[in-house]
Symmetry: C2
Subunit: 206 residues, 2 copies
DNA sequence: TGATAAACGGAACAGTGTTCCGTATTTAAA
DNA sequence: TTTAAATACGGAACACTGTTCCGTTTATCA
């Protein structure tokens, strides 16, 4: 945050930045596949780095978990802007809700960590809300203004509702590795469509 | 259960029985001190046996946890009878409620296991209730009959109430190893006394 | 008392997290 | 471009885990 312009010594070495990125990317995948308790070596190998490199940057496991989580939140929130730019407001809205749904499902494993009492995770709920609420709010507003969605929906309420929907729905599910092919996931998508329709065709901008 | 009289082969060897007992006793202590995830070696050493002996009798950790739990339940329920024999009904009742309180506190660590979803623990809640409810019921009835307690209290309700009291109260607490000296424990005892007084002096046998 | 089955103990193995340091890479000065 | 210092890398090594396996000891009973 201050490496770019301030005088606080050097800036981060290129290879270090590259590796940090690789580790986060690998951790995302491994966490999704094997849970947040996956062996450190597995993550390091997937990232193509040594365990030392991983530990230097993320001394505690929670550091890595938090970093991955925030990164995913950022990516998902950023997609809201992208979708809004490339699609009609109503389409952007429903597309993003799907995107958000996938986010919730892949983070199902983290949920238990979040509520584990470890203070390392205390900041995450706020981070979650302060990123997603505005992202969804702007999609909602735009869609409402275009007459493509009702305007009486609270963004955070919707986030929670879909969150519950997705995390409950994906409990049951097939054995497939790909969550997209999962029975429970398909069910979740159908329920989500229901909500989207409600969003679209309910009593509109009153 | 069938080793004593039926013809199903031999009876248990004396040393085996002795060791099983030692392991359970040691596990109780170690679980209380270090939690249910304590290293197997620590339990084995405390029991004065090799890890092989421990594993032979308790192949899965949950086997040991369940056995310790049941044993403690048995002991606590048995104390109800003992106390009833050696004391006036009212005294027996309040003494046993204290005893039960201590049981709950030392089993705090197990609570998380119980609700961990592992089917190995599914039977424990029933075991708990079917032993404690009659035990307390008979104490309550005797005390009520002697005019030393009101008679409109449901045993299971009381068990639950005190359970909540104790497990919540012992959350906060000092650093002392001895739970008996713990700040939270003292608080719990005071609250328990309150309930006991209510039991004793409330509108009685109506 | 001795034969036999049962039980014992702990070495050995495999899989973790974590540290440490010789080596390699990047950076910036010359 | 060359070179020296700073920085980062990788993975061997260590400390602990759970778990298995089998040579040795012990209890039982004829």
């Amino acid at each position: 945050m201050q490496e770019k312009t301030t005088g606080t010594k050097k800036r981060i070495r290129a290879d270090a930045a590259r590796n940090e990125d690789a580790v986060l990317e690998a951790a995302k995948t491994v966490f999704a596949k094997s849970g947040v308790d996956a062996p450190v070596r597995e993550i390091a190998k997937a990232a193509g780095v040594g365990v030392g490199t991983l530990y230097r940057r993320f001394p505690k496991r929670s550091d890595l978990v938090v970093a991955v989580f925030k990164r995913e939140v950022d990516a998902c929130a950023a997609d809201a802007k992208t979708l809004a730019k490339d699609n009609p407001p109503g389409v952007a809205l429903s597309q993003w809700l799907r995107r958000y749904c996938r986010f919730i499902v892949t983070k199902k494993g983290l949920a238990s960590s979040l509520h584990s009492g470890d203070p390392a995770f205390d900041a995450l709920p706020d981070y979650f809300r302060s990123n997603f609420e505005p992202a969804l709010q702007s999609l909602l507003t735009a869609a409402a203004k275009a007459g493509e969605a009702r305007s009486d929906i609270d963004a955070f309420d919707l986030l929670r509702a879909i969150g519950n929907l997705a995390s409950a729905g994906s409990q049951s599910g097939g054995d497939t590795d790909d969550p997209e092919q999962n029975e429970g996931m398909q069910h979740t998508y159908r329920m989500l469509d229901l909500m989207i329709d409600g969003l679209r065709f309910g009593r509109s901008a009153e």
